[in-house]
Symmetry: C2
Subunit: 226 residues, 2 copies
């Protein structure tokens, strides 16, 4: 029976967290949940599935249609208009919904509750990213208390990457044996496979690997396949 | 522009809260949100729409497919089996999802955030009901702090019914001029229209009106129509 649930997006950070959890509890005690919330890049869902398969842990996909509706003002309100480029300040599409991580973690807790799981793991970090108040340590701590009280259950939310830079996360992934899985993760905002290499997410990823002095396994894999 | 958002289920309590909000801020400053989460009784959505119409405030319906999936174990797991009767302890169908009110209020906050609304109103109460830890005052207070921090926004969650009995809520509804609207609210667990009169929800409602010494406007309306 799993005792820990990792919120797995199919990206670099949550994959590192999965291996952190494997290292702490062992594969037989870890499960993953992935949210299908209408992200522009459904390739993320495939990445999450592949990463979980490689790690030998179950991956459950939960649908969330609400975020698409909440974030869909750009699609329905012609005063806003659909942005094909990202907001230059937040680097987010204007379909972003505030508090999205609160939603993800509350659903993860409900899913965990039903299975007797009390340990939740998320890859949120307050370094490198600046604009997400629901990724900050104080928010996550308060949410943990709210979930404990609201579901009468002693949840613990682990955030192994909270204060790490991208380079530190890459080194951590290496130490945890997560580099093989990293070859299947998705980061690019454009949804391209292979990644565009130019969007802020691609550049942040490249910078992290460069600073860590490690070649990105995804780049290596794609070069090998080319 | 609305400045307050009422979570309106189409039931007796949230309708009373809507009139509490009308009284406090005026109809032009109040909006309502209703969640379409796969509740067994879609008549609730009609009730919410009718109540909002009668009150002269907008009603926005947000879909939530996640709760159906999370709560759907009874539909997919044959070790559990679909219960056609309610759990005798909790009086809830076994499709209940823990923390449901946390989800509702977080979505309400996200919706409010996008519209510059900072005042949220919900009809949760810690009296009369016993088993819902996410309806308790301490949980709601913590959630309020979490939403403030997680969305960097000074939300206030108002819970006008928190410590009221059903009878007190009925008297409050009368004083607020909400009895006309009460004729269009939905309470019955069975989803029957007219209500069954026998389920715990119907009995609780009848008891509240009886103790308040007021005839239930819904009963009067249905009697008139019969």
């Amino acid at each position: 029976m799993p005792q820990a649930l990792v919120v797995l997006s199919g990206g670099q950070d949550s994959t590192t967290c999965l291996y952190w959890a494997l290292n702490r509890w062992g594969a037989e005690s870890v499960a993953t949940v992935t949210f299908d919330y209408g992200q522009r890049h459904r390739v993320e869902l495939d990445c999450a599935r592949q990463v979980a398969e490689l790690a030998g842990v179950p991956n459950h996909v939960l649908p969330i249609d609400t975020l698409r509706v909440l974030g869909g003002s750009a699609l329905t309100d012609d005063r806003i208009g659909v942005q094909t480029v990202l907001n230059p300040v937040t680097h987010l599409p204007n379909t972003f919904v505030p508090g999205r991580n609160l939603i993800f973690l509350t659903y993860a807790a409900a899913y965990a509750y039903q299975r007797g799981i009390r340990d939740l793991v998320t890859g949120v970090a307050q370094t490198d990213y600046s604009g997400y108040p629901d990724c900050r340590e104080d928010t996550i701590k308060l949410l943990q208390e709210t979930l404990r009280l609201g579901m009468e259950s002693e949840f613990t939310i682990y955030t192994p990457l909270m204060s790490k830079t991208k380079a530190e996360t890459v080194l951590m992934a290496r130490d945890l044996g997560a580099l093989d899985a990293m070859a299947y993760t998705h980061t690019c905002y454009s949804g391209h496979q292979p990644p565009c290499g130019e969007c802020p997410a691609c550049q942040l990823r490249a910078k992290g690997f460069a600073e860590a002095g490690i070649e990105d396994p995804l780049v290596l894999r794609l070069r090998g396949a080319a």
